[in-house]
């Protein structure tokens, strides 16, 4: 079955990424200019491996593989290497590329260790043309915003240059937040078609709104560029905590039973 194959894809992807990391960090290699090119190539090859797996999984399941938490983690791991490479090409941050690859590995490892039943069933409410754009846009936003929070954590821990950190964080938040807005509104338009109203303050919707609102605070807090205040970095970390509650945590809140859309457990 499909899960057995996953191990193969997993190993191939992780090997590619390991190669990328070694080239990136080992003094022997990283002196030459070619090294950067090779680590980019290997990062991308690993990414493509996951794209292929996702593609075959989609075909095998005969539905978009976006229904369960594990499937959303798969998409996250799919986006991370590409986001990492894009940022690396633009700003040459080695640590950022490394982080992206490690996050991808982490999420894939969680999937490997706690496999879900790859059920083919898809409830009628999810059978909609909105399903794919809504989820893809959302997970892309999550991946970008998670990266912005990591930038903040790194800056707080290692005291890197504030102006450099905050520029990268701003860029990531602007991209991530735009996608978040799209995801939120797509979700509302879809809810109207599926359930008759675009906004019902369902727990998932409520937390999605909260996530959006906290990043909005960051954006407005950053309008004044004069200060070097660390507060913006703390806002990013709070925002990420809210995002995690929205993504995984909603399943554990007292309000869960009132939600029509938590991810299925199996």
């Amino acid at each position: 079955m499909i899960w057995i194959e996953f191990k193969t894809y997993y190993i191939i992807a992780v090997l590619f990424w390991l190669l990328a990391l070694i080239i990136l960090w080992f003094p022997k290699f990283n002196k030459s200019k070619k090294a950067n090119i090779f680590s980019v190539i290997f990062s991308l090859l690993g990414g493509v491996t996951i794209v292929l797996f996702t593609y075959f999984l989609w075909i095998e399941l005969d539905r978009p593989p976006m229904r369960t938490l594990g499937e959303t983690r798969l998409w996250y791991s799919l986006f991370m290497p590409f986001i990492g490479v894009a940022i690396f090409i633009k700003w040459k941050y080695k640590w950022f590329l490394s982080y992206s690859l490690l996050m991808a590995v982490l999420f894939l490892t969680i999937n490997l260790l706690s496999p879900e039943t790859y059920s083919k069933t898809l409830m009628p409410a999810l059978q909609s043309p909105w399903f794919v754009p809504h989820v893809v846009v959302y997970i892309f936003a999550y991946a970008t915003l998670a990266a912005s929070s990591l930038v903040a954590v790194k800056s707080l821990l290692f005291k890197s240059k504030y102006s450099e950190t905050i520029t990268l964080a701003d860029n990531l938040v602007y991209i991530g937040f735009s996608f978040l807005s799209f995801g939120l509104i797509f979700g509302a338009l879809w809810a109207k078609e599926a359930w008759g109203h675009y906004w019902t303050w369902d727990p998932k919707e409520t937390w999605a709104f909260l996530t959006w609102a906290v990043y909005l605070i960051y954006i407005h807090f950053r309008i004044n560029n004069a200060t070097q205040s660390k507060t913006s970095l703390y806002i990013l970390m709070v925002a990420f905590a809210v995002l995690i509650i929205c993504w995984f945590g909603v399943n554990y809140l007292p309000t869960t039973n009132y939600s029509v859309h938590t991810y299925t457990k199996y």
Partner: protein, 430 residues
């Protein structure tokens, strides 16, 4: 940017100035003080108001209210835009604090189930389980909308009068802020004009009476007849159950398989094989036979062989439903095989609508595919779940939201603004 802040005059720097509170220019302290006072008053109104919930505006009062509110904002801006309170209202600290206050209330909503039957005395007294009709929410929302409204008016004004300001970023700004402001105002004020009706229909009878949320009958000016209701199901799944705990074994996620004619797999030292699968069947003695009638259900004949000693067990399993008992197969001291209830794949009502002027025949209505008729959007809502695919009726929902397109207009502007935000990125500093 329109306002040029320097370190010394920027509102967010008030903290550093050790400015006495309420002395202009106002900043965060004053914003939060105002905000938390509103929250306090709101909760007091809830606590001592004996359940007098915030007013519900319906047409046409909502239009009057909305128009007057927006006019007040515009006039206040026109006449007082150079006064200190208005400068405070359009400043960033006010925007941030009003967002924080909204977040606080929405977070309560996200943690405490919004169900009036939930929670103890305190939750009920303060109306924490119905935030959207809470006075507090009402106040904070207006504080928030006013802050958003003033900055929108201001920047729109500048966009029009200042040549320099007419650039893509400022257009994006207006689209974002106006779109959000407009969508929220219309959605909030229009909320009570939305009609949700439910109608339960049997096959081949015309219906024109639906019930509203309060359970009152509402007669429609058209008729609905159900021509045919169909439910399609996914094939049921085969599960291995621990005889002692009664739990389904997960076996690394490789346990639940959709049952097909030729399914076979290995579990520990057992080889499990489906030798026959019947989608519609009924029990006859110890066996199941292919039957298509009310209540027939899936069943399968399974053979389990112990690969260690080649002993085998064979028998029928079936998932059970409102008419027939489920049947499992115990194949060892520890394990049994079970058929899970099939999940619903698709359900659909074919209906005919007719009014004095219009006739629409055999219209399929399914989840995610509502149909417009007689001013309503008509949704497939449910059916007789106990009977599953043998349900004898279908439940439709009729929704009339006269403000829908107006709200969508705001959302589309917001989307356009978001696109600009994505493409232009952050305004560079200095």
């Amino acid at each position: 940017m329109s306002i040029k802040y320097t370190k010394s005059n920027h509102p967010t720097h008030n903290k550093n100035n050790n400015k006495p509170i309420w002395e202009c220019p106002w900043g965060y302290e004053e914003s939060y003080l105002i905000g938390f006072s509103l929250i306090f008053i709101g909760f007091m109104l809830e606590f001592f108001g004996n359940g007098n919930i915030a007013p519900k505006l319906i047409f046409p009062n909502n239009i009057y209210f909305g128009t007057i509110y927006v006019l007040i904002l515009i006039l206040a801006y026109v006449f007082f835009r150079n006064t200190k309170p208005l400068k405070w209202f359009v400043a960033v600290p006010t925007a941030i604090s009003s967002l924080v206050l909204i977040i606080v209330l929405v977070m309560i909503m996200g943690i405490i189930p919004q169900d009036v039957s939930y929670g103890g005395d305190l939750i009920n007294k303060f109306g924490l389980n119905r935030m959207t009709t809470n006075w507090t929410f009402f106040f904070i929302l207006f504080y928030f909308l006013s802050a958003l409204g003033f900055i929108t008016i201001k920047r729109t004004h500048q966009l029009i009068i200042k040549k320099d300001d007419f650039n893509i970023r400022n257009i994006g700004f207006v689209l974002n802020h106006f779109g959000l402001w407009f969508a929220i105002i219309i959605a909030v004020l229009g909320a009570n004009d939305i009609q949700h009706l439910k109608i339960t229909i049997d096959e081949n009878k015309p219906y024109n009476v639906a019930t509203n949320n309060e359970g009152k009958d509402v007669s429609l000016d058209f008729f609905i007849t159900l021509n045919k209701f169909t439910v399609k199901e996914f094939a049921p799944k085969l599960a291995i159950v621990d005889n002692v705990s009664g739990k389904i074994l997960h076996n690394n996620g490789k346990n639940l398989f959709e049952i097909t004619d030729s399914l076979s797999y290995i579990f520990k030292n057992y080889s499990i094989e489906v030798s026959e699968y019947i989608e519609n069947s009924a029990p006859i003695g110890k066996k199941y036979a292919s039957v298509y009638q009310m209540g027939s259900l899936p069943s399968a004949k399974i053979k389990v062989t112990n690969t260690l000693n080649t002993e085998s067990t064979e028998g029928w399993i079936c998932c059970g439903n409102f008419m027939y008992q489920y049947q499992s197969l115990k194949f060892s001291k520890d394990y049994s095989l079970l058929m899970t209830m099939p999940e619903v794949k698709h359900f659909e009502s074919k209906v005919t609508f007719f009014s004095k002027t219009d006739l629409q025949k055999q219209i399929p209505i399914e989840v995610n595919k509502p149909y417009d008729f007689g001013g309503y959007k008509i949704y497939q809502l449910g059916y007789e779940e106990k009977k599953g695919k043998w349900s004898e009726y279908s439940i439709l929902e009729l929704v009339k939201d006269p403000w829908l397109n107006t709200v969508y207009f705001g959302l589309y502007l917001l989307l356009a603004g978001t696109l600009i935000l994505l493409l232009t990125g952050k305004r560079s500093s200095k």
